[in-house]
């Protein structure tokens, strides 16, 4: 037996969630060629089909690109710190891609590595993630190469699968998912078939071993020379989580804030003394690859990549991780 729900019924649910004051984030057609996750104001904005994957990611829901950590007030010698209030609005991410949801457990490790990040965890608790299995792929998708697939439920509270004729199968994964759909679905005998997913290009779970030997390779420059050193790959990546902390405001009042940052920026590791441990773009690219496929896996036992392909999709020059990994593997095969 399976559970099903019609698309109009889902939209009615969205209507209700919005009325209840919940925040709903879903894929939205922002312009003709751009689908991105945005807070929705009305149910008909939510895309439930006809897109590959949004160009941004759902990490913004738990790890916003900008947040105040606390405010400070300075009056003479008196300084007061006003802690940022903990978030309290419930969020529902609807029709997220599985390659987005899969990044949440990955981020959990980082934000709880000995020191627990309170606002991250709070947002995580407040968030319910409903994914929508993929039926379309593009040349950049490679979830099957990192051991995932288009109906992977990792990080999802519930997974929706398209059955055609405006009907979705609902697979609840967690209690959160259960309670979200309780009483909203109908029993059915229909189940969605498992599609093949994008072509499996490599087994990237094993690329770490190859990387052991590849650090000193002279080809890094050739593999990555076209990189322009922007943040498009990292900011669109569901798993990248580097950030910067700065004070904004004046000497009398302001806030310490946290902003997304990216290891591809030349300034990222630059010391005040002028020394830059990663001075060349190829070193910075190598860092990104190693962090995702070697460093993080060795620490937390999984890749820091879900195979979503957004890094390449967003890259001004079609770089991102897959082309580099394929180049490394091609060299290794020689």
């Amino acid at each position: 037996m399976s559970q099903i729900i019609s698309k109009p019924a889902i939209r009615r649910l969205v209507e209700r969630w919005l009325r209840q004051g919940k925040r709903v984030i879903a894929p939205v057609q922002v312009r003709p060629n751009l689908v991105s996750y945005q807070p929705v104001r009305s149910p008909d904005q939510v895309l439930l089909e006809g897109f590959v994957r949004p160009l941004n990611s759902i990490k913004q829901v738990v790890f916003p690109r900008h947040e105040q950590l606390f405010q400070y007030r300075v009056r003479g010698k008196q300084i007061d710190l006003l802690p940022a209030p903990l978030p309290d609005v419930e969020r529902i991410v609807l029709a997220a891609r599985p390659c987005d949801a899969a990044a949440l457990p990955i981020l959990d490790h980082v934000f709880n590595w000995e020191f627990r990040d309170a606002t991250y965890n709070r947002r995580r608790e407040l968030t319910t993630v409903v994914t929508l299995a993929c039926t379309e792929y593009d040349a950049h998708c490679f979830c099957t190469s990192v051991g995932s697939q288009p109906n992977d439920t990792r990080g999802s509270d519930a997974l929706l699968l398209d059955l055609g004729d405006q009907t979705l199968e609902v697979r609840c994964v967690t209690d959160k998912g259960q309670s979200l759909f309780a009483g909203q679905t109908e029993a059915s005998t229909r189940t969605a078939p498992t599609g093949p997913g994008p072509e499996r290009r490599a087994d990237l779970r094993r690329v770490g071993q190859q990387l052991e030997q590849a650090f000193e390779r002279s080809e890094w420059a050739a593999w990555t020379n076209r990189c322009l050193g922007c943040g498009a790959c990292a900011y669109g990546c569901p798993a990248c989580h580097c950030f910067d902390m700065v004070d904004e405001g004046g000497p009398t009042c302001g806030a310490r804030v946290r902003n997304w940052d990216a290891c591809q920026f030349g300034q990222f590791t630059l010391h005040a003394s002028g020394h830059n441990p990663r001075n060349a773009q190829s070193q910075r690219q190598r860092q990104r690859i190693y962090h995702k496929f070697h460093v993080y896996p060795n620490k937390f036992g999984e890749l820091l990549c879900t195979g979503c392909g957004n890094c390449t999709r967003n890259c001004p020059v079609s770089l991102g991780v897959l082309p580099v990994l394929e180049a490394i593997q091609a060299e290794g095969a020689k």
Binding site: L69, F70, Y72, V74, K77, Q78, I79, L81, P83, A84, V110, F111, N112, W113, E114, F115, R116, D117, A118, T119, N121, F215, H241, C242, F243, D244, M245, V246, D247, G249, G250, P251, T252, G254, R256, R258, D261, C263, F268, T269, L270, H271, A272, S273, H275, P277, R278, Q283, Q287, Y290, H291, H294, V295, N298, K299
Partner: protein
């Protein structure tokens, strides 16, 4: 795991004293504004803190006071960037922010019974100083102590007055040095670069560990000297100074090869260092 508080919000600390060490280096003594926090505060020498001035931001400094000193902590900085520029004008009674202590520490327990060699250059004295005081205060636990400390000129030596005090301890040898041309007429220390002075000093290296901190060139040329003296890579320690923002293993900035310097460092043996990429 620790309880969930805002890990990015600092404690407030009161400035007790500011000492100008050189033309561009100052040391600052601070105390927690909250007495209870101060009473609870424990750290191990070698750890660092995130020190901040509100409106300017945070900077990472080693806690350069000994962990035996209970009523205050000290840090030392050179005026180089936005935050340190602002810290330069700190006065007594000012308030700063502090988060920490973070990172690993010098394995003082492991060093018990050993001869200690401290080698430092320039602004690198503070991270040696905490360990030196700690060792002197637990004098009976350690063997001979040798301190080689050099700077470009006499006036660039940080904590210069303390060098003489250290030398008064039993079985402690202090070898201050300045680069050629950096000496003053009444300079009684050595003249020469740290690696050469270390070699000349004929330090007995049996059963010794060395803590070497300083500019990359100094380290580069001192390491072969230590090797020649017979020190193994696992007995040579240093402290890295990667750029950090969060200090708690999240922001990604200090990641160097397999380690996060803020969590698995900043203290590494040469043996460990050799397995890291040269990106620090």
């Amino acid at each position: 795991m620790r309880p969930m508080t805002n890990i990015y919000q600092p404690d407030l600390m009161e400035v007790l004293d500011v000492q100008q060490q050189t033309t561009d280096v100052k040391s600052v003594r601070v105390r927690f504004r909250d007495d209870a926090r101060g009473d609870d505060f424990l750290f191990r020498v070698g750890q660092f803190g995130m020190f901040s001035l509100f409106g300017y931001g945070e900077s990472t400094f080693n806690i350069c006071s000994s962990s035996n000193w209970k009523d205050f902590v000290e840090f030392c900085f050179r005026r180089t960037g936005r935050v340190t520029e602002a810290l330069w004008s700190l006065e007594k009674n000012d308030t700063i922010g502090f988060r920490g202590p973070y990172g690993n520490s010098y394995p003082m327990d492991k060093w018990i019974g050993k001869n200690l060699i401290f080698i430092g250059g320039g602004i690198a004295m503070p991270p040696l100083r905490c360990a030196i005081w700690y060792a002197l205060e637990n004098r009976e636990q350690f063997g001979d102590i040798t301190i080689v400390y050099g700077a470009r000129r006499v006036q660039d030596l940080v904590f210069r007055q303390e060098l003489d005090r250290w030398a008064e301890y039993d079985r402690v040898r202090v070898v201050p040095c300045v680069d050629p041309g950096g000496e003053t007429p009444n300079w009684t220390g050595e003249v020469g670069f740290v690696p050469a002075v270390t070699e000349r000093a004929q330090i007995p290296a049996g059963n010794a560990v060395a803590l070497v901190i300083g500019p990359p060139v100094m380290i580069k040329f001192t390491l072969p000297v230590l090797a020649k003296m017979g020190l193994a890579d696992r007995d040579i320690y240093t402290s890295l100074e990667n750029r950090m923002k969060c200090g708690v293993g999240k922001c990604g900035r200090c990641n160097c090869g397999p380690v996060y310097v803020c969590k698995e460092g900043p203290v590494f043996t040469l043996e460990q260092l050799k397995s890291l990429p040269n990106e620090y």
